[in-house]
Symmetry: D2
Amino acid sequence: MVRNSFGNIFVLTTFGESHGVAIGGVIDGMPAGIEIDFDFIQNELKRRRPGQSKITTSRSEPDKVEFFSGVFEGKSTGAPIGFAVYNTDQHSKDYDNMRALFRPSHADFTYYKKYGERDYRGGGRSSARVTIARCVGGALAKLVLRKLHIDIKAYTSQVGSIILENDYYKYDLNTIEDNIVRCPDQRKATEMAELIEQVKNEGDTIGGVVSCVIKGCPVGLGEPEFGKLHAQLGAAMLSINAAKGFEYGMGFAGVGKRGSEQNDVFYSQKGNISTVTNHSGGVQGGISNGQDIFFRVAFKPVATLLMPQETVDEHGDATSFHAHGRHDPCVLPRAVPIVEAMAAMVVLDNYLLNLTIKV
Amino acid sequence: MVRNSFGNIFVLTTFGESHGVAIGGVIDGMPAGIEIDFDFIQNELKRRRPGQSKITTSRSEPDKVEFFSGVFEGKSTGAPIGFAVYNTDQHSKDYDNMRALFRPSHADFTYYKKYGERDYRGGGRSSARVTIARCVGGALAKLVLRKLHIDIKAYTSQVGSIILENDYYKYDLNTIEDNIVRCPDQRKATEMAELIEQVKNEGDTIGGVVSCVIKGCPVGLGEPEFGKLHAQLGAAMLSINAAKGFEYGMGFAGVGKRGSEQNDVFYSQKGNISTVTNHSGGVQGGISNGQDIFFRVAFKPVATLLMPQETVDEHGDATSFHAHGRHDPCVLPRAVPIVEAMAAMVVLDNYLLNLTIKV
Amino acid sequence: MVRNSFGNIFVLTTFGESHGVAIGGVIDGMPAGIEIDFDFIQNELKRRRPGQSKITTSRSEPDKVEFFSGVFEGKSTGAPIGFAVYNTDQHSKDYDNMRALFRPSHADFTYYKKYGERDYRGGGRSSARVTIARCVGGALAKLVLRKLHIDIKAYTSQVGSIILENDYYKYDLNTIEDNIVRCPDQRKATEMAELIEQVKNEGDTIGGVVSCVIKGCPVGLGEPEFGKLHAQLGAAMLSINAAKGFEYGMGFAGVGKRGSEQNDVFYSQKGNISTVTNHSGGVQGGISNGQDIFFRVAFKPVATLLMPQETVDEHGDATSFHAHGRHDPCVLPRAVPIVEAMAAMVVLDNYLLNLTIKV
Amino acid sequence: MVRNSFGNIFVLTTFGESHGVAIGGVIDGMPAGIEIDFDFIQNELKRRRPGQSKITTSRSEPDKVEFFSGVFEGKSTGAPIGFAVYNTDQHSKDYDNMRALFRPSHADFTYYKKYGERDYRGGGRSSARVTIARCVGGALAKLVLRKLHIDIKAYTSQVGSIILENDYYKYDLNTIEDNIVRCPDQRKATEMAELIEQVKNEGDTIGGVVSCVIKGCPVGLGEPEFGKLHAQLGAAMLSINAAKGFEYGMGFAGVGKRGSEQNDVFYSQKGNISTVTNHSGGVQGGISNGQDIFFRVAFKPVATLLMPQETVDEHGDATSFHAHGRHDPCVLPRAVPIVEAMAAMVVLDNYLLNLTIKV
C-alpha cells in the first residue's frame, strides 16, 4: 500500500510529525548478519540535521537515533528494526497564528480537506523533518550496499541560476562534503552559498537541482513493466518534499536528439560488455546495464517565506500572515543526503528482489 | 509487488510479449455497477494502434480486445476483469538476425543478463506493444472517472526542437485528435509531422514531450510520504517505454525562481477556496488541491534505427546489424493515449483509496 | 491487496466466472529458465476436471489451458504467464429460476448485497469452477518444486463419518489416484465412494477432510509474525470453496495434551538435526524445520441440493426452488488437487522470499 | 509483503523482541477524526499483561504504551501512529544456558537456520511478548468499530479436557473478565484455573481453545477468492503464537453432516433478510452475511517446561537443560485479548476496503 511504507523486500515504514513526540519507523527485510555501524548511521543523520550551517534552518536538534530492535550483538538479526528520533526543539508557539489559515504552497489546505483534522504545528506530517526516517533507512541500506561494492553519491548541481556545466565524471565526488552546499565544484559552491545567504536575508527562498550517481550496480536490477528501475527511482525522488521533477540519463535534454545520436553502442573488453556512451544513464528497458546510473531531481524554492503573505483561513476569509519560524532558505544542501538515502533503498530493494529470479 | 501489477485498489496486472500469443491482463478492483462502453474502450485502443498513420509503424494489428470476465449484462460486477488482445501480424522472421546480438539502447542485453532467457522477437516483454494492456486498464478507469466528472487530456507538446510555447490553457484540447501528431496547435502539428517523416526517411528517430492535464480532480487525492500524487504519477509515466523524465507544475523551470515568485496564493470565491496562480500543478504536499493537475513527460528517440549499427553478440564479439522491422520513427503520437491511460488509473486508484480515510 | 491475487513473490492473479467466457489468470514471478511441461499441467487440470467420475458433477468441460505469454522455446522467461481456460459447457438456462432468489448457504445473498450486481449463473465468481486458475498456478509451482525435490501429496482422509484412522506415513501416498475418491486406503475409498453415491441419489451432499503432506521442504521457509508458514497455508486452504477449518501438526487434538507430551525432542544423526516426534507438523515458530509438513482441511457439504428448498428472493419474499443443475454431491475428490496446488504456491513463494534473507 | 506487516488498508507493522529495548509498531490507515481513548488502549494491554494472575507468568511489566505520532488534540489525524512499549523486566541471564542449544518445539532451531543469527534471550522475535503490538493495533481498531457498532468478544472455551459444551449464545459474554481464565461459565472457569495451577505445579503446560464472536458486522465484508473473510481471520489467528488450528461456523464438526442439515435457510422479517440457523458462522462465499461471525482457535501447550528436557546444541551434540525462566503454564487466558485484537483489525480492514466497491 502506497502510504507510509516504501519498498517491496526491504521495506521502510515511517511515522512522525514535525512537532510530535518523535520521528521514526520500522525497517522490515534488512538482511541478517550485517554489522551495524552506528557511527555511520548517526553521521548520515548529521548530514541532514538542521542547524548544520549558516544557510540552513536554525532549529537545533541532536537527531540522535534510538534503535529498539532487530540488532543483536552488533549485527542485524533479520527481525524488523524499529527506531525513533525524539523531537526536542519544537517551538510550537511559532505556529499559533497558523492554526486556522492555509499557508500558500504548503500542505495545510490539502491535508485539512483530506483528513478533516490536521496537526498545524510546523507542517505536521508534511514537514521535511519526517525525512529523518528515510535517512535512517538509507543508512542501513548503504551498510548492505557497501558490502556489495555499490556506491551512491549525490550533490547539488544547481542553485537558482548557478549551474554546474560539466557531467558528473568531471568532478571529484569525494569533495562534496567539503562545503556547506554539498557541491563538488568549490568555486561554484561559494557562489551558491552566497546566493542562498542573500536570498535568506531578503526573507525569500530559492530552488535548485540535486544530481546523483550510482556506481557498481550490477546488471539486472529493476523489473519490467511497472517496476522499471528508473520509475522506482523517480517515484522515490518525487516523494521527497519540494521535488518537482526527475530525469535520468539524457533526460529532457535528449528529446531534441536523434536516435543515431542517443543510442549507446555496445563493445566488449576482456569479456566484459560495456557501452561506448552512457546516454541511457545506466538503465535500459528499465533494468540496470552495469554502467553508472545517473539522474537529476528538481527542487522548488521552499514555500515558507519570512515576509508577509496573503492567504485565506478555514472559513475562506482573506487574511495575511508573516512566518517567524526557523526555516531553510534553500532545501538543496540538506536534500543531498535524502536523495542518497532513497536511492540506496531502491537499489538494495531491487538487488534483493532480483535474487528471486532464478532457482 | 512492483513487477507486472500497478495500483493499490484499482490494480492492473498485465502479461504478453510483442510476438507472443496475446497481450492482456486482469483489472482487479473495478467498482461494481459501472456501465461498460465497449466502443469507447476499443476506440482508446485504436488511438494506440500501430499503422494508424504514415508516421507510425506499419505493423497492422486490429487490436481487438476480448473480455473474459467481470462484466455481466453490460455492467461491471466487482469481479476481476480478464482480457486479451491477440497478436496477429507478427513478422518474427524479421528478428532472426537479432537472436544472438544486443541492439543498442534496447533491453536485449539487460533482459538476457537478468533472466538468462529472452524472447528476442520484437523486443519480447520490453516491447511497447505491451502497453495495449495499459490502455484497456486506462479506458476502464476513464469510464469511472467520467461518472466523477474528472477529465484527462494529454497531447504532444514537443517533437525534436519544435515546441509548443504556450501553457495548456491557451489551447483547445478538444482538437488534439484533429491531426496525426496529437498536438492542439494545428500549425505546429504539421511541422512536427513533417519532421517525423523526414527523420523516418533518413532511417533515424526523434524524441519529444507529452504534456497532460487533469481537470475536475477533487481536493484530497494522493497520500502523504511515499504515495504523493505526483510521485505516483511520475512512477506511472516513467514506466512507459522510452520515458526519460517527468516534471509537474513549474518542474525544472521553477528551480531558478524565488519562493515569492512561485508560491500560489489562496483566495476564496463563493465559498470555494482556489489559488491565484497554479505553479504547484494542482498538487500541494503530495495531495491534489482542486486546481488543474498538469505534468510533462520526456520521451527519447526510439532505439530502433533503420540504418546499420555496430554492437556485440552474446559472446561479446563485435558485429553489426541493420534492422528491417516495422518501427515508429517517433513514439510521441502513440504515447499520448498511454499517458492518459496511466494518469486515469492513478487518479481512480487514489480516488478509491481516499474513500477509506473517514468512517 | 488481498482480493484476486495470491502470493508475495510468486503471485497468481485470477479472473473468471462459472458461466463467463473463460477462467484464467496471470502468474507473476515464475523463476526464469524452468522447462514447462505442458502435459503435466494439463494433467493437473484433469484431476480437478468435472465429469471425471460418477461421483462428480456431469458438467463436461475439456478444461484445456491456453498460455498467452511468458514461455519461449519451452522455458519460462521470467515474464508474466497469462493463461485462460474457456468455458464450453455452460447450461446457463439451468439458473434462470435463480436470478432473483438467494440459494441457502451460497454466496448469492452476500454478493448481491456487497456489489449491488451479481452474475447469478452457476454461482458466478463464487463458483468452485474458478479454482481452475489455482490449479494452473499450482502446476507451474510444482514444476519448480520438482527441481528443488519438494513433493506435495494431498488425499481424502474423511467423507462423512468414514475416517482414515492412521497417520499419513502409514499409507502409500502414491496410490491416491488409484480410486475416484483420492484416498490411499483402497477399502475405505470404496466405502467413501458408496456413501457419496448414496447421498447423491438422495439429492443430498456430504462433507469431509483433505489431509496434505509436504516432503523435502528445507529448513527456514516462512516468516516471523504475520507470515508464519502455517498461517499462510491456513489462509490458502481456507480460501478454497467450502473450506471450514484448518489444522496442522496435532491441531485441535493437541489442545488436550500436556507440553511434556507434545514437545518434539531434537536429536542429531550424522550431523543432521531432526526431531524424534513431529507433533509440530514440520513448522516451529512459523518456520519449516525440515520435517514433513502436514495439515488437514475441513470441507462442508456442498450447498446445492437436488431437492426442494425454502428461501427468499431479492425483495425478501418467501419462495422455494429446486436446483436441477449439475453439481458435485461431495467436493472432496476434486478438492484434493486444489489443496495441493495452493500448498505448492505457498511453499514456492516462501522459498523465493527466503532467498532474500542473506546477501 | 507478508512479514511484519498485517492488513491492506488498516496496516499494522510491528517490531521488537522479548528482551530487546522495546516492542512497538506503526499503524497506517487509521481513519482520521477518531477520538483516541488512551485509557481503553492501556486497559486492553493490561488484559494481555504478564503477571496479571497466579496462572500467568510472573514477569512483571507495566506495559505502558507510548505514542509517538498520528494523534493531535485527542484525535487521530490520518497520519501513521507510531508507538512503543519498553521492556523493563528482562532477566536475560535466565537464558544464558540456552545460548547455544535448541529448546524443543521452540523457534530456536528454525530461526538459527533461517537467519544465521538469533537473539536467544527469551525467544527473541518469536516470543509471545511481541503480541503487545497487536493489542495496541487491535485497541485502535476497536475504537473505530465501536463507532460502527461492531462488537468482538473472545473467551476461553476449552482448557485441556475441560470444555464448554454450549454454543456461545447460551453464555453471558459480559462476564468473561470476571475470572482469571476469561471463561463465561464461572464454574468451568474455576475448574480450568485449578487444572492450570496443577499443571504448573508439575512444571508442565496445557493447551486449549479460544472461541470468538463478532456481532454487528454489516453484510458485505470480505473479498472473493483469496481474501475471503474467514481466510483472513484464519491467517490472523494462526499467526498468533502457539495456534495450531482454526475453524469457523460448524468447522470440523460439520464435515460429517449432510447439506440438508447444514444449509442455513433464509427468511425475511420486517424487510431484513436473515437466516434461520447459522451453521455458516456468519460468512457465506467468503463474505459476511450479517449474522454473528464465530470461530474457534486451537492453542497447543506452551513449549517451555519447568522440568529437564533433552535436546541438541548448535553443533548437533546431545545436551539437556532445565528452564528456570518465568513462563505461562497455559496461554489461553492471555490469548483471549490477542484473538480479539486480531479479529478487530481484520474486520476494520475489510470494512474500509469495502468502501471502495462502489463510487
